[in-house]
């Protein structure tokens, strides 16, 4: 049902709030009216006391916000690699020709706007789409079987979670369609144990002892991060859970949130207890409406029975978790850009140092962790560090999730003991490659390629590093010999051009120059390879943040492995 709400009614809820309410209010206005116009910006500026120019700058930064009228329904079709392999271009073109418009345009009757989209985190169900219904909100649809479902929607868009692997821990007991409710999850056993029998220092010591390494891509030891934050002067301390998951090919965090929301909440609360925080923010990318709803429902359940909120379990530990919704910007997965987004600004990464552990959200000591990282913590506290270390290798402890998509017979999220080989993963768990293997992209768009003779690499942080590769975000995209790798490179190049925040010159300029050359690889100019190398190394060595530093990583690895792709012919 479409509800009619006025701007005043929306703004009433924001009176007295500050700039950090900007993204939430923009979402409310965008959902109600389909776009955010000058009058709305004027009123928001008065309510939150933020300059109009700044608000305009914020709207125009985020893909999911519009400052001009759009169709009643906005349909976004993903065209990143995994969806590209599954026929996303045909779907998008078919839709456009049916409606008689190009992508980026709106039908004359104002009914539909069609856009293409960066990875929607539904790669195992490719091709995927995200629909925005004015007055209602977003809905994910995957796989998109035909253009009808895009135009009419579907009652049951519930894709199934496809999971597997050799070490079901985080994904244990998952119902493939529904969120695990509190009655099935049970008590927050680990949190209770920590509060009753353990000090924050002991919780940190246990996490340190477990060898848990962050799962968000930067591979930083979690316990050490918590210790630094706990020790930092300055109050209050914050926990931020990074659920921005936008690395193409990555969807494990979505599955965790959709399937096991209470596991994540317990992990966030444990972090709060350990570092001495009373507030946690869960920043979820705007393209994950289902995960957001399920997480909110779980928070409500936990509040109801006192597992979150004031004086948890009768102790003097109080902890609240607030969900913040992203608005379409891969860069907001970068931890400091994410803080900026929560603070109501354009998602520009900050210069480091200082680091989040001392100067994080609102300039306060902050621990920011990936969804999977935090989901690993309850098990460590309940069962002990030794139990956790029994999975995997000495340096890559604990079960690890990977998102596998592309040309495998059973794409999905796999929970593995680090140490199995990539070949075992693909053949024994993913039921084999469809067709003949040509290449594997490890770590998503920011990652590197492996060739068929490299897939005996053991899946551990240390082995992958030795092989010049990376777990990165845990994305594994598989390409068979039918795939045009140049086409894959173009898609990656477009992704980075679209997602560069534009703050620093090497990446702002380099992502554009790079894609221009990738787009002409079928008929390259002489010296295009050396152009790509100069652009690539300059972005890698001089960019301000991880986005630019990895925006050429796949291209440079392709140059090394398949130099012929960059020559004429």
């Amino acid at each position: 049902m479409q509800t009619m709400i006025t701007l005043d009614e929306i703004l009433n809820d924001y009176i007295g709030r500050k700039r950090d309410a900007l993204l939430p209010v923009l979402w409310d206005v965008q959902t109600a009216f389909g776009h955010i116009d000058a009058e709305a910006v004027h009123q928001i500026s008065h309510t939150l006391r933020v300059p109009e120019a700044d608000i305009y700058g914020v709207i125009s930064f985020y893909t999911l916000f519009h400052d001009e009228p759009t169709g009643e329904t906005i349909i976004r079709v993903c065209t990143d690699p995994s969806c590209g392999l599954a026929g996303a271009d045909d779907m998008l073109n078919g839709l456009c020709s049916r409606l008689g418009i190009h992508h980026g345009e709106t039908t004359v009757d104002g009914q539909f706007t069609i856009e293409h989209s960066a990875c929607l985190g539904l790669c195992e169900h490719a091709p995927a789409a995200l629909i925005s219904w004015r007055g209602i909100g977003e809905q994910s649809i995957a796989p998109v079987s035909d253009t009808d479902v895009l135009l009419n929607g579907t009652d049951n868009a519930q894709y199934e979670s496809i999971i597997g692997g050799d070490a079901p821990v985080l994904l244990a007991g998952v119902d493939t369609y529904a969120a695990q409710r509190l009655k099935n999850y049970g008590d927050y056993v680990a949190l209770r144990k920590a509060i009753n029998d353990s000090s924050p220092e002991n919780v940190i010591a246990e996490v340190e002892e477990s060898g848990l390494i962050g799962r968000g891509g930067a591979a930083f030891p979690t316990g050490m991060k918590w210790r630094f934050t706990r020790q930092a002067t300055g109050q209050p301390h914050y926990v931020v859970c990074n659920a921005d998951e936008s690395e193409p090919g990555t969807f494990k965090d979505r599955v965790l949130m959709e399937a096991r929301p209470h596991l994540l909440l317990e992990g966030i609360a444990l972090c709060g207890y350990a570092i001495g925080a009373e507030t946690g923010y869960l920043f979820i990318r705007g393209e994950y409406p289902e995960a957001m709803q399920r997480m909110q429902a779980a928070i409500d359940e936990a509040l109801e029975v006192g597992l979150l909120g004031d004086n948890i379990m009768g102790s003097d530990f109080s902890f609240h978790i607030e969900i913040r919704r992203g608005a379409g910007a891969y860069i907001c997965g970068e931890e400091t850009a994410l803080f900026e987004a929560i603070e109501g600004k354009r998602g520009f990464p900050r210069i480091k140092p200082p680091y989040p552990t001392t100067h994080g959200l609102f300039g306060k000591p902050t621990t920011i962790n990936n969804v999977e990282t935090l989901c690993a913590v309850p098990g460590i506290i309940t069962n002990g560090a030794a139990w956790f270390k029994a999975f995997g290798t000495e340096k890559s402890t604990g079960p690890k999730l990977v998102s596998v998509s592309g040309h495998v017979n059973r794409p999905g999220v796999y929970e593995i003991s680090p140490g199995i080989t990539l070949r075992e993963l693909l053949n024994d768990y993913c039921e084999g490659v469809t067709g003949e293997l040509q290449a594997v992209l490890m770590g998503g768009a920011a990652g590197t390629f492996l060739t068929p003779d490299e897939i005996d690499v053991r899946l551990t942080f240390e082995d992958l590093r030795k092989a010049g590769s990376t777990f990165g975000s845990g994305a594994i995209v598989v390409f068979n010999t039918e795939t045009d790798l140049r086409d894959v490179l173009v898609r990656l190049g477009r992704f980075f051009r679209h997602e560069s925040c534009g703050k620093c010159f090497p990446c702002q300029l380099g992502t554009q120059r790079q894609v221009e050359i990738l787009e002409r690889l079928d008929a390259p100019l002489p010296d295009d390879r050396s152009r790509l190398e100069d652009i690539g190394w300059t972005m890698t060595e001089s960019s301000l943040c991880g986005l630019g530093q990895t925006a050429a990583s796949a291209v440079l690895s392709a140059i090394e492995k398949w130099p012929e792709l960059f020559e004429k012919g």
Partner: protein
């Protein structure tokens, strides 16, 4: 050898051992010993944001180069302000910038391009950043075809000086550009025409109207006409 002092940092800069107070940036240290490091976005009057990266230097041969304008000197480090790697990065940044923006009136940048052997046609068929010229007020003209996105104007208009907040950045990535709210003209924006933004612009993007008029070959009369200040518009019509 200087004594190890808690508040002093000793390190090697282009083969020369120097000692500086803790917190000194590499750019400041280089300037102390009379060494030039090129800068585009850095300005003494604005917060350094490390945007342009032409100031990058090699610290200990690390994987990443360090922006000299913000990176602080570290004990016992070995810094090279100009080696092959540094040159490749600076030259490529300049070549990419030159393929996007009209740099003809940025004198310092022109010199830099000479110094680093920039090939002006390195990126053929490159999409340039093109904008209409904003001639919407009697005081100054904005020609963002010449804008390098150093952010200085946005910064002086905001917390670095003026607290007027007339300017922001629109869009992102390659399409990033300086903008007013909804691209309204300057007369409709909160701009108070203090001129600070013009003073810090390193290129010809922001220019007083008189200077612009002369460049366009206008007569003094025409310029006078053009820069006549209209009656103040009524404040806040609500």
């Amino acid at each position: 050898m200087p004594e190890a002092d808690d508040n002093m940092i000793t390190f090697t800069l282009d083969g020369e051992e120097i000692t500086v107070p803790e917190g000194t940036t590499l750019l400041e240290a280089a300037r102390m010993i009379g060494k030039e490091i090129p800068v585009i976005c850095y300005h003494d009057a604005t917060t350094a944001n490390g945007l342009c990266r032409v100031c990058v230097v090699d610290v200990n041969g690390g994987r990443l180069l360090q922006p000299a304008c913000i990176a602080e000197c570290q004990h016992d480090s070995i810094v090279e302000t100009r080696n092959e790697r540094v040159e490749r990065n600076r030259r490529t940044i300049l070549e990419m910038l030159n393929s996007a923006v009209d740099l003809s009136q940025g004198e310092a940048i022109q010199e830099m391009m000479m110094d680093y052997g920039v090939d002006e046609s390195r990126f053929p068929d490159a999409k340039r950043r093109e904008h209409d010229i904003h001639d919407d007020n009697p005081f100054y003209v904005r020609d963002y075809n010449q804008c390098v996105l150093c952010w200085r104007c946005v910064q002086v208009c905001a917390e670095d000086a003026q607290y007027t907040f007339a300017l922001t950045l629109g869009e992102r990535g390659y399409d990033t550009h300086v903008a007013t709210a909804f691209d309204i003209g300057m007369m409709d924006s909160p701009c108070v025409f203090c001129g600070q933004c013009i003073g810090v612009c390193p290129t010809g993007a922001l220019k007083p109207k008189t200077e612009w008029g002369l460049e366009q070959g206008m007569s003094p009369d025409e310029i006078r006409q053009m820069t006549r200040i209209p009656r103040r518009r009524k404040e806040n019509t609500e």
